[in-house]
């Protein structure tokens, strides 16, 4: 099976208030279609790792490669373009743009990418919303939606450009158990039906245990690489 993401000895320091090594030579390979949970205690560095993987944090040592592209050392504009095309995000707080409708929120990353015409984008956005059961709320202002609904719209926005990876930072952290279940089902469907790769940082043990692979971190190291689907080590 192909890997989508690979890191080589990723090391990162925090300098404030004093020098502190938050990530210690992380080697991680994520395969296509894997639903991976990144778990660990608070402060173990899992969120920090996710933001390095997301390409938003460029202040690290080591190497990062996604979809066969080496991303270490690229400039911010190139990385922004890369994120737009290859990475979808789902955050704990839904972070929809409140002045826009649900549909517009979903459309924005696609309009930014500019691969399709506006009407095509609108059609695709409707499709994604429908997949998540949100098409009835498409024209509502996003601020008028409930938390669970907003998170589903956010997921639709995350997958509008058919990204190689969806990255989630506590995607269910702010949801009740019903909506947590719903979001989990959506993720599962995405991985199983559409072979979508998902990396989610989570505190939620139940959520993690239902995912395909659990990577456990402690003190800036991966202490348990999971590996249900781990292929033969490719350094």
């Amino acid at each position: 099976m192909d890997h989508v993401l690979r890191t080589h000895k990723i090391t990162k320091y925090f300098y404030d208030p004093e020098k502190f090594q938050v990530l210690k030579e992380i080697d991680l390979v994520v395969n296509k279609g894997e639903f991976l949970s990144l778990v660990g205690k608070s402060g173990c560095g899992k969120s920090t790792l996710l933001y390095v993987l997301s390409t938003m944090d460029t202040d690290y040592e080591g190497e990062l490669e996604i979809s066969g592209q080496r991303l270490t050392g690229k400039n911010q504009n190139a990385l922004a373009r890369f994120r737009n095309e290859h990475i979808g995000f789902v955050f704990q707080f839904h972070y929809l743009l409140p002045e826009f409708t649900a549909l517009q929120n979903v459309m924005i990353p696609a309009q930014k990418l500019g691969r399709y015409t506006r009407s095509e984008i609108e059609e695709r956005a409707y499709e994604k919303l429908k997949m998540l059961g949100m098409h009835e709320h498409a024209l509502k202002p996003s601020a008028k939606l409930s938390g669970g609904q907003q998170q589903r719209v956010a997921i639709a926005r995350g997958i509008i450009n058919d990204p190689d990876i969806i990255m989630g930072d506590e995607p269910t952290g702010n949801l009740d158990s019903y909506n947590t279940g719903l979001v989990f089902e959506i993720f599962q469907e995405l991985t199983h039906t559409y072979h979508q790769t998902i990396i989610a940082v989570t505190h939620d043990e139940a959520f993690a245990h239902k995912s395909d692979r659990i990577v456990e971190m402690s003190d800036g190291r991966i202490v348990h690489p999971g590996g249900v689907l781990l292929p033969k080590m490719q350094t």
Binding site: Y51, D57, E85, F89, F91, E99, F100
Partner: protein
């Protein structure tokens, strides 16, 4: 770009009050700029026009007060000499060979008109009272070419002066003081005691009290007669140039050519022109201040917007908006505020100017003015909009840059 515009538009429309307040700042600044600059340049143009009607582009005359070197200093240029109370010798004001000089000047391609004149102080007799004034002996048709007298006639025609050897065209203020009308006769006396009765064939109004209240025109020969001088006696040559802004350069040349003092209009009217400059400085500094204040308003509002939109900016960046895209979104907002605000400002400025131009204003005896002069030159409207948009661009740039530099991780991690 299209996406940035649509996001910017949504941002602006979702907070109409804030947007409106920001725009009003610009509108007020530009509106005041237009109103002020219209009135000030209107006044400047008016005074300049007045200046032009009362003084020729270049005035050539015999300046007796012109410093005269003493004989000693000519003979012993290095010697120390002390001369107290040097006085001019008895000299006539005559410009020699004036008519030949006039012909010479007329043939100059840069000159559009030359009028030799002679003028003298006279007393206008009004019963037992004598009013002090000036009489200018002119070729009235030449004079008309220089000063457009025809348009300033309140009674009579300028040709009437040609027909009446003993005619006089009088300033309106003077006529009023003397209580005389078109067709009446007036007695004038020269300082030398020569008295003559002249018929008023016309009345003019220049619009400036200092001219209208003392001056009158007569034929050259008439004035030569009352001064008891020969027919070649001319005291002044007035020159009109094709381009009046050349006056300052040409005056010294004409001075060398004629051997007499040649004074350009800018030097002759330095006080008027200084007034113009000061008015311009005032207009631009007040407008600039207003716009700076408006600029601070925009800076503030945009800063606040960006502060409120930190999360949105972070998520936009996560989704693949580069720093420059974010900057674009906020720059578009400030430019739209600037442009729409400036346009509204132009409209308000125009309306204000229109109102000002209708306000009755009594210039009194000194200046003939019934309402304020306002300049509707489109140039200032263009400057206004450029000024407005530029200010908002500067005011918007700093917050926009801040937004573009924002680190999304800090916000997304909470």
């Amino acid at each position: 770009m299209k996406l940035s515009i649509s996001i910017a538009k949504t941002h602006l429309l979702s907070r109409p009050k804030q947007t409106l307040v920001a725009m009003l700042g610009v509108t007020f600044g530009i509106g005041m700029f237009i109103a002020m600059v219209s009135l000030m340049t209107g006044l400047n143009n008016f005074t300049e026009e007045l200046t032009m009607t009362s003084s020729p582009d270049i005035h050539i005359y015999n300046d007796i007060a012109e410093g005269r070197p003493t004989l000693l200093s000519v003979v012993y240029p290095d010697a120390l000499q002390v001369v107290h109370h040097q006085k001019p010798k008895q000299e006539t004001l005559k410009v020699r060979h004036a008519l030949q000089l006039a012909t010479l000047l007329r043939n100059d391609t840069r000159v559009s008109g030359v009028a030799p004149t002679l003028s003298s102080q006279v007393f206008y007799n009004y019963g037992p009272v004598q009013l002090n004034g000036m009489i200018a002996g002119v070729d009235i048709l030449e004079e008309d070419k220089l000063f457009n007298l025809r348009a300033k006639m309140k009674a009579g025609r300028i040709e009437d002066l040609k027909a009446h050897a003993e005619g006089i065209i009088m300033g309106i203020g003077l006529a009023r003081k003397l209580q005389v009308h078109h067709g009446d006769r007036v007695v004038i006396t020269t300082p030398q005691g020569y008295t003559m009765t002249l018929k008023i064939v016309g009345i003019f109004q220049m619009g400036i009290g200092t001219v209208d209240n003392i001056r009158s025109y007569a034929n050259i020969s008439t004035v030569q007669t009352i001064l008891q001088q020969d027919p070649s006696y001319i005291t002044d040559i007035n020159v009109k140039l094709k381009d009046l802004h050349q006056a300052k350069q040409l005056a010294p040349e004409f001075q060398r050519l004629s051997g007499y003092k040649a004074e350009d209009w800018e030097t002759a009217n330095a006080t008027f022109l200084t007034g113009s400059i000061i008015r311009n400085i005032l207009t631009y500094s007040v407008s600039f201040t207003l716009l700076v204040v408006a600029g601070f308003g925009i800076y503030n509002i945009l800063n606040m917007t960006i502060h409120n939109k930190m999360k949105d900016i972070a998520i936009l960046k996560a989704m693949g908006f580069a720093g420059k895209d974010v900057k674009q979104i906020f720059m578009i907002q400030s430019l739209v505020i600037g442009f729409v605000g400036s346009l509204a400002g132009l409209l308000i400025g125009y309306t204000l100017s229109l109102i000002i131009s209708k306000v009755p204003f009594n210039g009194g005896d000194f200046i003939a003015l019934d309402h304020l002069p306002v300049n509707f030159n489109p140039r200032y409207y263009f400057i206004g909009i450029v000024f407005g948009v530029a200010t908002t661009a500067v005011a918007g740039y700093l917050p926009s840059r801040k937004a573009s530099k924002l680190d999304p991780i800090e916000i997304l991690r909470g």
